[in-house]
């Protein structure tokens, strides 16, 4: 597994950044000993690129901490899986091809499926399942929004290019209001007015008031002036967008989402509004989309022998492990070396980033895999739901893809001759 660096004088490669769910594709990579971002100053992308090992030769599979050949590691992984009756496939930080391939394996082994950002994903899925949602996408925000309300989030902190991605293509006046946070200078732009409106109480109180005001309901006490002003502007806006971040909305984030969806619904009775939930990085929305279309049910579904069961609460990775409701952990994490598996006293198979530090503990197989968009081409879903962005291979680092590894393990399980058959 050796990297083949491209000469530095090669022109920068038009590139899609896989390191957050914005999936910026108008940027480029200069490829030398290191990979350098061109066309953006995104700190997140720069940090992630700096973590990519220049030489992946040292990244070899291990079995219980000892270096092993890929074949040995695959055999060991297949043996562990064949011996498991309640496997948990978690992490799932990979691309479309990776999830497709893992799904076939999960189906064969009756596994539970969850993502490392499962809590955040469920915080947007659950309000959708309960009441529904009206959402919008980046191009619509860019083209149409005259009022953008960032509720309880400063989007650029976790999605550094967010405001650049939604900047209008032609001069247009608009307001960006931060509710519950300070204004974010990253949101500044020509013809853009920034304002901060404090929470009245907590996020739930604030949304309750906004909902009442937007519906013209009588209130027991007069609302704080800035909030009343915001409600009036929401009612007057031609196209209001409420941006929130399920992963940063606390343990009851789903209820924040539900209140926002209700507000959007109220506004849509007379004018136009939509919400936009920021999330889905590390292949989170990708995993949820692919699992949903293949199985019919979202993440946190168990493909149990007696039937498929979806439970956004009980089938969370942490709860499954705490309740000892799994006897094997398959952990997939191909974007971020620090996304290591949770502590679990279980046989563990890790399909991990080449720079992932060794994890101590239980019987374990580690197989380094390519990062989609670095060592391999691929596809990921963008944070607004329906747009799939192609990823290009930045360099051939010799690492196998998650799809290839899952396929090879499945083959071993299906072939009794390998001795690993179930």
């Amino acid at each position: 597994m050796t990297a083949s660096p491209t000469p530095t004088d090669a022109p920068p490669l038009p590139w899609t950044c896989p390191f957050c769910a914005l999936l910026c594709d108008g940027v480029a990579l200069a490829r030398g000993e290191t990979l350098e971002l061109r066309g953006s100053d995104c700190p997140k992308a720069r940090q992630a690129l700096a973590q990519q090992p220049a030489d992946t030769a040292a990244a070899t599979p291990t079995i219980d901490g000892r270096a092993a050949s890929l074949d040995e590691a695959l055999d060991a992984a297949a043996r562990l899986l064949a011996g498991a009756t309640l496997p948990l496939f978690a992490g799932l930080a990979t691309d479309v091809a990776g999830i497709r391939s893992l799904y076939a394996l999960a189906s064969a082994r009756d596994a539970i499926l969850d993502h490392l950002l499962g809590d955040a994903i469920m915080a947007s899925v659950r309000p959708l399942q309960d009441r529904g949602v009206y959402y919008t996408t980046l191009a619509e925000v860019r083209t149409r929004a005259d009022l953008i309300v960032c509720f309880g989030t400063r989007p650029a902190e976790r999605y550094p290019e967010f405001f650049r991605r939604i900047a209008p293509g032609e001069p247009r006046r608009r307001e960006i209001v931060f509710v519950g946070t300070d204004t974010d200078p990253a949101a500044a732009g020509p013809d853009t007015e920034l304002e901060a409106v404090p929470f009245a109480g907590d996020a739930f109180d604030t949304l309750a008031l906004l909902n009442a005001l937007a519906a013209d309901r009588a209130l027991a006490a007069p609302p704080p002036g800035p909030l009343a002003g915001l409600a009036a502007r929401l009612q007057a806006a031609r196209y209001a967008v409420i941006v929130w971040e399920p992963g940063a909305s606390g343990a009851q984030g789903a209820l924040v989402g539900e209140a926002i969806n209700r507000l959007v619904g109220t506004l849509n009775a007379r004018t136009r509004a939509a919400s936009l939930a920021l999330g889905g990085s590390q292949g989170g929305y990708t995993a949820n989309q692919v699992v949903t279309w293949l199985s019919g049910l979202p993440l946190r579904t168990g493909l149990f022998r007696d039937g498929l069961r979806h439970d956004p609460w009980a089938l969370a990775t942490a709860r499954v492990l705490a309740g000892r409701n799994a006897d094997l952990l398959l952990w997939v994490s191909s974007f971020d070396p620090s996304a290591t598996p949770p502590a679990a006293d279980l046989p563990t198979i890790i399909l991990g980033h080449a720079a992932m530090p060794p994890v101590a503990g239980a019987p374990q197989v580690f197989i380094p895999v390519a990062t989609p968009g670095i060592g391999a081409a691929g596809h990921l879903f963008r944070l607004d739901g329906g747009v799939v962005v192609p990823l290009v291979q930045a360099r051939d680092d010799g690492l196998p893809t998650v799809a290839a590894i899952a396929g090879a393990i499945a083959q071993r399980l299906a072939a009794p001759a390998s001795g690993a058959g179930s």
């Binding site: 959402y135 980046l138 949903t292 019919g296 039937g307």
Partner: protein
């Protein structure tokens, strides 16, 4: 090389005028061939007494893409209980009205269908749609890209709509999305709703672009004609579901000015305003117009009583329908300056006057239309009901006494007064074979599907004759896909990856500058990633065959 013979079956192959003739059918390497009677074959099945047809083709079924997946997300309760089958060939997958893609492929194939077409692929969601279809096993598939609510086209039309410009843009879009055709949904209306317009009739202007649905329909139909795309413009007309919308539907036919058009789920567009409930059947008016316009074909969009979910690009309509939804929740979205999406769960009830009448209207359209080559059997899955109800629908069409029994159970006013009571027609196996195979293949320009002639793909369904047509069509004895046995008596026995049908009309590449300029100012995807290449399509579609239908001079009105 592998050969197969089906011996002694009764063939229904309307493309060749074969109506129940007893005849052997030979297959070599996935294609239908003429085999000598004594020629040895690798496999032979005695199908004497059985009915042999080409594999079914569903030309309008929401099987893949963003909105279908949102429907799955919205209705986890539709997927309970979710038992797994004992068949090790089937990967885990569940759901009733919007099953997972895997279950969708298995259930279609089990009923003798070998192809289905997603009618509402958003340009910005095309990769996703192809991925879902690629993960729908066994079936070949394709999709129509939605145009006519994309701001760029509306902008072009507002500037005067230079036909050459529109043609090149449509040609580019079809190639970029790897589509089989073009669908227009509530022409201009989805875009208008983004500007808070709540209603848009055929001659009403879009509040922003000042363009009418009539102009949109005509411009798109003309572009497709000039590009020689075999499938006519697929039209979800204005005012879906609104009492009195027959006027909009007839005006839409008029807007075609003789150009080819396929009016989809016409049941939802054939409503009058007569009677005490100001809601009546306009099936007769619709059928008369279709009969009189050989340039027009239709699919019906029959409703089936029970729970389903309506999945549509038509946000303007769905926000209105949301109040009628059951369970009461819904999803809507404005998408990438080119589309929208709205999902409203529905429970069609036979004791509801409106639902009962919708059921009647669909059947009246099937039974009154005089040219089955221009009528395709659909439920607009899942909007009217899930595709798994096709065998039931076929029985309703073939069996007058069964139909009468069902009719008698409906809302009493409908049961007592529906014109359907007086319609004695029972469709024949030959006519069913037209509406479920031969006609859709012809309307799509698929020269080697939908029939049993030499050279055709060996997509074949063999049914055991049974007076209960529902039972018969639910569980074919054998289903072959490209000559491979994929289902036997309702059990999947092989799960090949299906192929992707698409067309590649030629266009003047200079149009790309205009599109790139628009994208730079409005879109959120680099223009370099706007189009799906052939290799990328293959990856998205899970490695299935790429099936290109040529755009050449074709016959008019699909006959």
């Amino acid at each position: 090389m592998s050969t197969l013979r089906l011996r002694g079956g009764r063939l229904y192959d309307p493309a060749h005028g074969i109506d129940g003739e007893v005849c052997d059918l030979g297959v070599r390497d996935g294609r239908i061939v003429a085999l000598h009677e004594n020629e040895p074959v690798d496999r032979e099945h005695d199908v004497s007494g059985m009915i042999v047809m080409a594999g079914g083709i569903d030309l309008h079924s929401h099987i893949g893409g963003g909105k279908v997946n949102l429907a799955r997300l919205l209705l986890p309760e539709d997927h309970r209980p979710a038992p797994r089958t004992d068949n090790p060939l089937e990967l885990a997958s569940c759901g009733a009205c919007t099953p997972g893609t895997l279950a969708t492929g298995y259930r279609y194939a089990e009923m003798g269908y070998t192809a289905a077409f997603e009618p509402a692929m958003a340009l910005s969601n095309a990769r996703h749609a192809h991925m879902e279809m690629g993960d729908t096993p066994i079936l070949d598939h394709g999709a129509y890209v939605m145009l006519g609510n994309d701001e760029l086209l509306l902008e072009m039309l507002a500037e005067g709509g230079d036909p050459a410009l529109v043609r090149d843009y449509v040609g580019w879009a079809i190639n970029a999305a790897r589509a089989m055709g073009v669908k227009v949904v509530n022409p201009g209306g989805i875009s208008a709703f983004k500007f808070n317009q709540r209603k848009l009739d055929v001659d009403e202007p879009h509040v922003q672009h000042r363009v009418t649905p009539r102009q949109v329909v005509h411009a798109l139909a003309r572009a497709l004609t000039e590009l020689a795309v075999p499938h006519p413009l697929h039209i979800h007309a204005s005012n879906l579901g609104v009492a009195g919308n027959i006027a909009s539907t007839l005006a839409t036919i008029d807007a075609l000015e003789g150009l080819r058009g396929h009016l989809t789920h016409v049941q939802f567009h054939s409503y009058g305003t007569e009677g005490p409930h100001k809601f009546s059947s306009a099936a007769l008016a619709l059928v008369e117009a279709v009969n009189a316009h050989p340039n027009v074909s239709i699919d019906v969009g029959q409703i089936i009583f029970g729970q389903t979910v309506t999945a549509s690009g038509d946000t303007m309509t769905q926000i209105r329908n949301a109040a009628l939804g059951s369970p009461r929740k819904w999803v809507g979205a404005d998408i990438e300056c080119d589309a929208g999406c709205g999902l409203v769960p529905f429970r069609y009830r036979d004791q509801s006057y409106v639902n009962a009448l919708q059921w009647v209207i669909g059947l009246e359209i099937f039974l009154l239309a005089n040219d089955p080559w221009r009528v395709v059997l659909t439920t607009d899955h899942p909007n009217g009901g899930p595709f798994t109800s096709y065998p039931h629908l076929i029985r309703l069409l073939m069996d007058k006494s069964f139909r009468d029994e069902q009719l008698a159970r409906l809302h009493p006013e409908v049961a007592a007064h529906a014109a359907l009571r007086e319609i004695r027609r029972e469709l024949t196996l030959y006519e069913i074979a037209i509406m479920t195979r031969a006609a859709p293949a012809r309307l799509l320009g698929l020269a080697d599907r939908g029939h049993l002639g030499v050279g055709a793909a060996a997509d074949i369904a063999v049914y055991r004759e049974d007076a209960d047509r529902e039972y018969m069509f639910r569980t074919p004895e054998y289903v072959f896909k490209d000559g491979e046995l994929v289902a036997r008596q309702g059990r999947i026995v092989a799960t090949p990856v299906g192929g992707t049908h698409f067309v590649e009309p030629g266009f003047d590449g200079a149009i790309e500058q205009r599109i790139a300029r628009y994208a730079e100012h409005h879109h959120a995807l680099d223009f370099r990633n706007a189009a799906i290449g052939r290799d990328e399509l293959c990856t998205c579609a899970n490695g299935g065959q790429l099936l290109v239908t040529p755009c050449a001079v074709h016959g008019t009105n699909g006959t």
